[in-house]
């Protein structure tokens, strides 16, 4: 068998030789065992039906995606830079609004954004952090450059797979991993706890030992496994809205010994459902009074309310300028070239080049509503043109990037499949990036859509240690 395809640099030759020499049938049968193990361990995303719960394993490909120390260094620095700029941007738009006043970013893009929360205007979040947890989607083009495809700064998911995939590899393929110097990923929970603790609010009950909780919409949520994973790794409870209540602008959880103060909430619930008093009155998931408790400085909500403005696909287009504006640096990671259809030139350009471009609605996630020009039929293009003209501001367009491929276990051999990467950054006093991240892979031949909802799977992501690094090395800035 051969893994002779893209993303093989000479530095990785030794590792790829291991895979080349492995017996395919043996790999295949161990991969099957690994899938079963994931299922039995309940490393699943959950789909509820009437009477049963259907646990689905996110397809796991056993061929890792491997990044060298210097490749990782670029990503690490690039992500930290990006997160700093996003936090500065969020602070600015909820305070002085310099960037809007001088027209660097169009005002209506921010003020008219559905994710802008008036309630946050003038509010100072603890340690100045808005996006405590960020997941940046990164792809690689033909030239091997890393490009940012999307920022996820509300509640990015998938980190549990990064850690579980590694555990699974260690159990299933100890021979392939033997003596490799990989950066470890098992620190995530502890670091997340540390960083969240650094954003303890001024009104906390005990600033040295803050009570952190993970707030989940509950078992019906497809990412429930991740919520419990995070709580378990941090050693904190998973709470649902019904476990919490507010009194005197403080947040409490209901325990067997009575009410206990809560200081930091890592919420995995959308803004709109957090507090029926502040947002959607019909929310059953939220807690009445939570937002007031936050505004009074008695509880930290991570990520902060209203961060969604920054991961809007239209704001994304301005990100290189945002980085320059706040940090006075050039972006370490470039954006994919993006045309903002709300701008007349860009709209015209997009309409003229529909069959070359990928057209994306700015308000959707999960790969929905995307038109991939080069692969679309005439009817599909016509439909996309209509939606585009009906509401140009809702769209951006980008050239079709031929995503890099990575060797992937096929039916009878290793086959090239497109991948992307979502590194996870956690921010408290400073930002730390988990070395590696979630590699998603489009398992269908030719497909470039890597979302789990569209037939994508995941891979373990290996980051090699640099010559002087130890396995435990993790830069914490």
């Amino acid at each position: 068998m051969s893994s002779n395809m893209a993303e093989r640099s000479p530095q990785l030759e030794d590792i790829w030789n291991r895979f080349d020499q492995a017996d395919f049938d043996d790999l295949k049968s161990r991969a099957k065992d690994a899938d079963l193990e994931l299922f039995n361990l309940g490393v699943t995303f959950t789909v509820y039906s009437d009477k049963d719960v259907i646990d689905r394993v996110l397809p796991f490909d056993i061929i890792p995606r491997i990044l060298t120390a210097s490749e990782w260094n670029t990503i690490d620095r690039g992500v930290i830079q990006r997160v700093s700029a996003i936090n500065a941007f969020l602070h600015d738009i909820y305070h002085e609004q310099h960037i809007l006043n001088d027209g660097t970013v169009p005002r209506d893009l921010v003020m008219g954004n559905a994710n802008f929360r008036d309630i946050m205007v003038g509010f100072e979040p603890a340690a100045g952090v808005y996006t405590h947890i960020a997941g940046t989607d990164i792809i690689r083009d033909d030239d091997g450059r890393f490009l940012v495809l999307e920022d996820n700064v509300r509640s990015p998911s998938g980190v549990s797979y990064v850690v579980e995939n590694r555990h699974l590899m260690e159990r299933s393929f100890p021979d392939l991993l033997a003596n490799l110097r990989l950066r470890k990923v098992s620190d995530y929970g502890r670091t997340l706890f540390e960083k969240l603790s650094e954003t303890v609010p001024s009104g906390a009950a005990d600033k040295d030992n803050p009570q952190v909780v993970v707030m989940s919409p509950g078992m019906f949520n497809s990412a429930y496994f991740e919520h419990i994973f995070l709580a378990r790794e941090m050693g904190v409870p998973v709470v649902e809205g019904s476990d919490l209540f507010c009194d005197d602008d403080r947040v409490f959880m209901k325990t067997i010994a009575g009410p206990k103060r809560v200081d930091v909430i890592y919420r995995r619930i959308d803004d709109a459902f957090l507090d029926p008093e502040a947002f959607r009155p019909d929310s059953m998931l939220g807690v009445k009074g939570l937002i007031n408790a936050m505004l009074k400085g008695n509880v930290t909500i991570a990520n902060a309310i209203g961060t969604g403005v920054a991961d809007d696909k239209a704001v994304y287009a301005y990100m290189p300028r945002i980085i320059k504006y706040y940090l006075d640096e050039d972006p370490i990671l470039d954006n994919v070239e993006t045309h903002i259809c709300r701008e007349e030139d860009a709209l015209q350009y997009t309409l003229d080049h529909m069959e070359e471009l990928v057209v994306k609605p700015v308000g959707e996630s999960g790969g929905y509503g995307i038109t991939i020009g080069p692969k679309a039929s005439r009817e599909e293009l016509e439909k996309a043109r209509e939606s585009l003209l009906a509401d140009p501001a809702n769209f951006i367009s980008q050239p079709m990037i031929s995503l890099s491929v990575c060797p992937t276990l096929g039916e009878s051999d290793l086959v090239p499949r497109h991948v992307d990467l979502r590194p996870f950054a956690v921010t408290g006093k400073g930002t730390w990036v988990l070395p590696g991240g979630l590699t998603r892979v489009a398992l269908r031949e030719g497909s470039i859509v890597v979302n789990s909802s569209q037939g994508g799977g995941t891979k373990d992501t290996w980051v090699l240690c640099g010559p002087k690094e130890t396995r435990t090395g993790g830069n914490r800035s």
Binding site: L41, P237, K254, I256
Partner: protein, 334 residues
């Protein structure tokens, strides 16, 4: 240390109850399968329906009480919330909620077991297979409890798990005794002794339902005296399924919560337990218990519901529920 969330405490309590209930049901069916050859003897199968007060629910769906129907009603029927599969489903959903607290192996065991049992088919319930299937289910439940025993961190949550386990076990013992004894009450009776030999087979089966046969032989050698059997299952302090033992453990757990965790509001439940222990003691000394046997068991079961309810108000954040709603509450939690 983070104090246990009420929701988790309740889930631990019910997780234990559902696993114990499944195991108990599997044991009873297993023993019952011994009657299979005698399919005409519907009474034995109908007795199980009385045991869980399920006759009406059963009749909604099945026209005849026979081995096949009862087995499917109690093993694989997801429309029956009291079936083994439904109980294990409920146990698994509680475990899912508890995953931040429980060990990976605990979750993995319950998850695998449920997935395996949901594949059970009619073939597994066939007369030639039923005993084996039930045996397998009971062993799996034992394994789940074994993994729990060997991996669960001994925090306050452990006490709620134990409370659920012992309360459910007491409840099952009391129900089974009640219905089994009632089964022959009309024809023979405990204290005249003359039919004891003829009934030996029955009492043996009863002991087997509790996996108590050998323990009983060790404690009481000689003939299977019905009175001794009944006393053993109710009042023997050393037998882990006897009422006295189970309630003693409940008391121990409440003491732990009071002394070790300073949860002083445990006192309401404690009072209920003391009342029950007192009633057990007077029953043990009552020479005419057999005449009031059914009433006594009713009282036991009612008292167990009271204890459960007091835990609900003291720890699980329930508001007081009028007593008539209590019985339905024990079935509804998932």
């Amino acid at each position: 240390m983070t104090m246990l969330l009420s929701r988790y405490a309740e889930a631990l309590f019910w997780f234990a109850r559902y696993v114990e209930r499944s195991a108990s049901l599997a044991r009873i069916l297993n023993v019952q399968a011994g009657f299979w050859q005698d399919d005409a003897n519907q009474e034995n199968w109908s007795a199980i329906l009385s045991l869980y007060a399920d006759k009406d629910r059963f009749e909604e769906k099945y026209d005849t009480i026979n081995a096949r129907n009862v087995a499917s009603f109690y093993v694989t029927d997801r429309d029956n919330p009291g079936s083994i599969l439904s109980c294990l489903w409920a146990a698994r959903e509680n475990a899912r909620l508890l995953r931040p607290l429980i060990s990976v192996s605990m979750w993995s065991y319950i998850n695998m077991s449920f997935n395996e049992f949901s594949k059970l088919s009619n073939w597994d319930l066939h007369s030639t297979r039923l005993a084996r299937t039930c045996e397998m289910i009971a062993r799996r439940c034992d394994a789940i409890m074994g993994v729990t025993e060997s991996t669960y961190y001994r925090d306050a949550g452990w006490r709620f798990y134990q409370l659920g386990l012992w309360i459910e076990r007491a409840d099952q013992t009391s129900r089974l005794l009640d219905v089994k004894v009632a089964q022959i009450a009309s024809t023979h009776w405990l204290d005249d002794g003359e039919d004891a030999v003829a009934d030996a087979e029955f009492w043996k089966l009863l002991l087997h339902s509790f996996e108590a046969y050998h323990a009983f032989q060790r404690a009481e050698s000689g003939l299977l005296d019905p009175k001794k059997v009944a006393n053993f299952l109710m009042f023997n302090e050393s037998f882990p399924r006897s009422l006295t033992h189970c309630i003693g453990e409940v008391q121990n757990m409440l003491k732990d919560l009071y002394l070790g965790y300073k949860l002083y509001h445990v006192e309401y439940s404690y009072e209920e337990v003391e009342k029950l222990l007192y009633e057990l003691e007077s029953a043990a000394n009552d020479p005419h218990l057999h005449l009031r046997f059914h009433g006594f068991n009713d009282k036991v079961q009612h008292r167990l519901m009271e204890i459960t309810q007091s835990l609900g108000t003291s720890f699980f954040g329930h508001v007081d529920v009028p007593p008539e709603d209590v019985s339905s509450q024990t079935q509804s939690q998932a």
